[in-house]
C-alpha cells in the first residue's frame, strides 16, 4: 500500500496549494484520531467486532483515497516535502486500518494499533504545524 502510494506520488499531475495540502493532512489527522478511539475499544475488549471491521474498512478506504489524491497532485516546490510526508502518513493509516479490519477482536493488536495511530496523528499534526506555522 505504502509503496503504491509513493509510486503514485512520483507521477504527479495537477496543482496542490499549501491550503489544499493542509486540508488533506488535517483530514488524515482526524482519521488517525478516530482510528485511535476505535482501536482503544478493541484493546479494552469494549466493542463489537462487526462494528470495528466495518468502521476500519470505511475509514481505511478514506485514507487510501486521500493517499491517492495527494499522490496524484503536483505540489508547488515549497510544499513538496510535506506532500511526500502526507502521502506516507496516509499509506501508514490505510495499513493500520487494514490491520484493525483483519483483527477486530484481538486486544493485543488493538493496543498496538492504538499506539501507532497516536504516533501517526502526531506526525500529521507536525506536518500541519510546518504548513501553517501554528500548533495543530
Amino acid at each position: 500500500m505504502l509503496a503504491l502510494a509513493l509510486l503514485l506520488g512520483t507521477s504527479g499531475c495537477g496543482d496542490l496549494s499549501r491550503d489544499e495540502l493542509n486540508r488533506g493532512v488535517e483530514s488524515l489527522s482526524a482519521l488517525a484520531a478516530q482510528g485511535e478511539l476505535i482501536a482503544s475499544g478493541v484493546a479494552r475488549d469494549a466493542t463489537k467486532s462487526t462494528y470495528t471491521r466495518v468502521m476500519a474498512k470505511t475509514l481505511g478506504g478514506e485514507a487510501e483515497h486521500e493517499a491517492e489524491k495527494l499522490a496524484d497532485a503536483e505540489p508547488s516546490p515549497e510544499v513538496e516535502r510535506e506532500r511526500d510526508a502526507a502521502v506516507q502518513i496516509a499509506g501508514e493509516l490505510a495499513d493500520l486500518f487494514s490491520e484493525l479490519q483483519t483483527f477486530p477482536g484481538d486486544e493485543r493488536h488493538g493496543e498496538l494499533v492504538e499506539k501507532q495511530m497516536g504516533k501517526v496523528k502526531e506526525q500529521a499534526d507536525a506536518v500541519v504545524e510546518r504548513l501553517t506555522g501554528e500548533e495543530a
Binding site: 488535517e26 482526524a30 478511539l37 466495518v54
Partner: protein, 406 residues
C-alpha cells in the same frame, strides 16, 4: 387518569421518535467542530418545531384540515404546487437518507453489503407498516428510540465542564461561514417539516377535535422539549470526546463512539440500537409525509386507516416514493451527504408551508376562539422571520462551505 396516561405515553413516544439521521449527523459534527457553542441553535430549532407543530395540530383539531389541504386553500393551486414539489423533493431525499442510515447501522451490526441492507431495511419497513396499526408503529419506534437516552447517560458519565456547556446555550454568531452553515444545519435538522406534516395528518386520522387541544399542546411543547435534550446530549458527548482530538465524524457509525467510550460494548449496542429505531421511525414518517402531502393537495382519499383498498392512490404513491428513495440510497452517494442536502433544502422549502399555517392559525373566521393569541402570534411571526433569513442563507452557505466540508 387514563387520558393522562395516554398523553404521557404519547410524549414518551414523541421523545423516542424526535431524532432522525439529520439531527444525529448535524449535532455530532457541530459538537466535534465547535464543542458546545451550537447548543443554542438546537434550542432555537426545538422552539421552532414546537410552535409549528402546535399550530398544525391545533388547525387539524379545530378545522379537520391537515397541512397541505390548508396550503392549497390558502395559496391556491399554483403556489401550492410549488410548495408541494419542493416538499416532496425534500421528503424523498430524507427517506433516502434514513434508509441509507438504516443500512449503515445494520452493516455495523451484521457486516454485510450496504446495498443488501438498503433492500432488506425497505422490505422490513413495508412489512412493519402492513402488519402494525398506526399506534403500534408509533410505540415500537418511539419506545425503542428511547435507547438514545444512552447519550444523556454518556454525557453525565463523561462529566464535562457544565459551566462551559451552559455557556453554549447563549446565542453567539461568528463571521465564519462554516459556523453559520452549522447554525442553519442544526436549526433545520430540529425543524424538519415532514415531522410536523406527519403529526398533523396523524391528528386528522385519529379524529382529533377541540377536546384534543390540551394533548396537542403538551405533545408539542413537552415532547419536543424532551427530544431537544437528546439532541443537546449528542452535541455534548461529541464536543467532549471528538473536539479535543480533532475527529471529523463524517460517518454515521462515529456517532456511537462516545457511548462505547463510556459504557463499552453495551453502550455501543444501545447507541446503535437507538439510532436504528430513530432512523427507522423517521423513514416511515417521512415516506408517509410525502404521500400525505400529495394526496391532501390533490384531494385524493388518503390515510393509513383507510387501507390500500379505500385509498389506492395514496398507497401507490407511498410505494413509489419509497422506491425512488431506495434508488437514491443505492446510487452510491454517502447517506450522510444526502442527509446534509435534505436538511439544508428542507429549511429552504419551509417558509412555503409554514406561512399558510401561520395565517390560518391566526384567522378567527376559521379557528374561532382557538385562533393564535398574542403570544402565539408574536412567536409565530418571529419564527417566520428567522425561517426566511435561514432559508435565504442556506443555499449560499451550502455552496460556500462545500456542503460543510470547509
Amino acid at each position: 387518569m387514563k387520558s393522562v396516561l395516554k398523553i404521557a405515553l404519547g410524549i414518551i413516544a414523541a421523545l423516542g421518535g424526535f431524532l432522525d439521521i439529520g439531527d444525529i449527523v448535524f449535532t455530532t459534527q457541530a459538537g466535534a467542530l465547535y464543542r458546545y457553542d451550537l447548543l443554542w441553535a438546537v434550542v432555537l430549532g426545538v422552539v421552532g418545531i414546537a410552535i409549528y407543530a402546535e399550530m398544525c395540530g391545533r388547525v387539524a383539531a379545530v378545522t379537520g384540515r391537515p397541512v397541505f389541504d390548508v396550503i392549497r386553500m390558502r395559496m391556491g393551486f399554483g403556489l401550492g404546487l410549488v410548495a408541494l414539489v419542493a416538499s416532496t423533493f425534500v421528503n424523498v431525499l430524507t427517506v433516502a437518507a434514513e434508509l441509507g442510515g438504516l443500512a449503515i447501522v445494520l452493516q455495523l451490526l451484521f457486516d454485510a453489503e450496504y446495498s443488501l441492507f438498503v433492500v432488506l431495511a425497505t422490505v422490513g419497513l413495508v412489512i412493519v407498516v402492513a402488519l402494525l396499526p398506526f399506534g403500534g408503529i408509533e410505540r415500537v419506534f418511539g419506545y425503542c428510540g428511547l435507547l438514545m437516552l444512552v447519550f444523556i447517560a454518556t454525557a453525565i458519565h463523561q462529566g464535562p465542564d457544565w459551566g462551559e456547556v451552559a455557556h453554549g446555550f447563549v446565542p453567539s454568531l461568528s463571521d465564519s461561514k462554516l459556523y453559520l452553515y452549522f447554525v442553519v444545519g442544526v436549526f433545520a435538522a430540529a425543524l424538519m417539516p415532514y415531522e410536523v406534516h406527519f403529526y398533523s395528518s396523524g391528528a386528522v386520522e385519529e379524529g382529533w377535535d377541540e377536546s384534543n387541544l390540551r394533548e396537542n399542546r403538551l405533545n408539542a411543547i413537552v415532547g419536543y422539549a424532551l427530544g431537544g435534550i437528546l439532541a443537546c446530549s449528542l452535541i455534548v458527548v461529541s464536543g467532549f470526546l471528538f473536539h479535543p482530538v480533532g475527529v471529523d465524524p463524517t460517518d454515521l457509525g462515529t456517532a456511537a463512539l462516545p457511548a462505547q467510550g463510556a459504557f463499552g460494548e453495551t453502550g455501543l449496542l444501545l447507541a446503535l440500537g437507538g439510532i436504528l429505531f430513530c432512523v427507522g421511525g423517521a423513514a416511515i414518517d417521512s415516506s408517509f409525509a410525502a404521500s400525505y402531502n400529495l394526496a391532501q393537495f390533490l384531494g385524493w382519499e388518503w390515510g393509513r386507516y383507510r387501507g390500500p383498498k379505500k385509498a389506492p392512490r395514496f398507497t401507490v404513491s407511498w410505494l413509489v416514493f419509497l422506491a425512488l428513495a431506495v434508488m437514491i440510497a443505492l446510487s452510491g452517494i454517502n447517506p450522510v451527504e444526502i442527509t446534509e442536502y435534505s436538511v439544508v433544502l428542507a429549511v429552504v422549502a419551509l417558509p412555503l408551508t409554514y406561512f399558510p399555517i401561520l395565517m390560518i392559525a391566526g384567522d378567527r373566521s376559521f379557528m374561532r376562539e382557538h385562533a393564535n393569541g398574542m403570544v402565539s402570534t408574536t412567536l409565530g411571526w418571529l419564527y417566520f422571520a428567522v425561517i426566511v433569513v435561514l432559508a435565504l442563507a442556506a443555499i449560499p452557505l451550502l455552496l460556500m462551505t462545500n456542503g460543510g466540508g470547509g
